[in-house]
């Protein structure tokens, strides 16, 4: 089980800053599909990136349960 970190609007959609889920072997694309099935509200935001071990991940990257995974909605610093 992984504890996916959720920030900003993602934290509000998920209802928590951590989301427990099984991610082992999923590609980022598959992970995103799963997230959108669990929380259809993600379809209403402008999109989001996934960071793995604090680096933006490509869609093809494959996850393991040891990874630090985070949902990164559109950033708005500055």
């Amino acid at each position: 089980m992984n504890s996916v970190r959720c920030f900003g609007v993602a934290k509000e959609i998920v209802g928590d800053q951590r989301l427990k889920m099984e991610i082992e072997g999923l590609s980022i694309s598959e992970f995103k599909t799963l997230i959108q099935q669990k929380f259809p509200e993600f379809a209403t935001i402008k999109g989001y990136m996934v960071a793995v071990n604090q680096v933006y991940a490509l869609d093809s990257q494959v996850l393991s349960n040891n990874d630090e995974v985070a949902i990164i909605p559109p950033v708005s610093g500055g």
């Binding site: 920030f7 402008k46 604090q54 909605p73 950033v75």
Partner: protein
């Protein structure tokens, strides 16, 4: 070639940020200071709340500064960002860039703030008189 990146719940100091990039060999320092506006898209803003994914945000800030120095020719760069509650007119971000000649300082400072707004995992929640929302999250 110094880089300083900072996320802070306390007020940001322009003097500290400026001092961190001063160099006897550098004649030009460009600073950008981003403050909280009292309105956005015609609505009155009462305050902001900044959330960050701190370790990744610091890494992304460092990457920006590294590009500004190693690819664009600046000498020293500091990037400070406030987190948590920030009131109207308070400073949300300070970027200081020093270089031998001023043109590069301007270019790199502008690059840093443009890039920060694109890639650094920091989120701004705007509190209006009648509610709040995450800026830029929804179409």
């Amino acid at each position: 070639m110094n880089i300083e990146v900072l996320l802070s719940k306390e007020k940001l100091s322009i003097d500290r940020c400026y001092s961190s990039v001063v160099d006897e060999a550098c004649g030009g320092i460009c600073l950008f200071v981003g403050t909280v506006r009292n309105q956005n898209k015609g609505k009155l803003v009462t305050y902001l709340d900044f959330e960050s994914y701190e370790p990744m945000a610091l890494k992304e800030m460092k990457k920006i500064a590294e590009k500004g120095i190693h690819k664009m020719g600046a000498n020293h760069i500091s990037i400070y960002h406030r987190t948590g509650y920030v009131g109207i007119s308070d400073i949300a971000v300070i970027i200081a860039v020093s270089s031998i000649h001023r043109k590069i300082a301007f270019e790199v400072c502008q690059y840093c703030i443009d890039q920060l707004k694109e890639t650094v995992p920091i989120w701004k929640k705007e509190f209006l008189e009648d509610g709040s929302y995450w800026v830029g999250a929804r179409p």
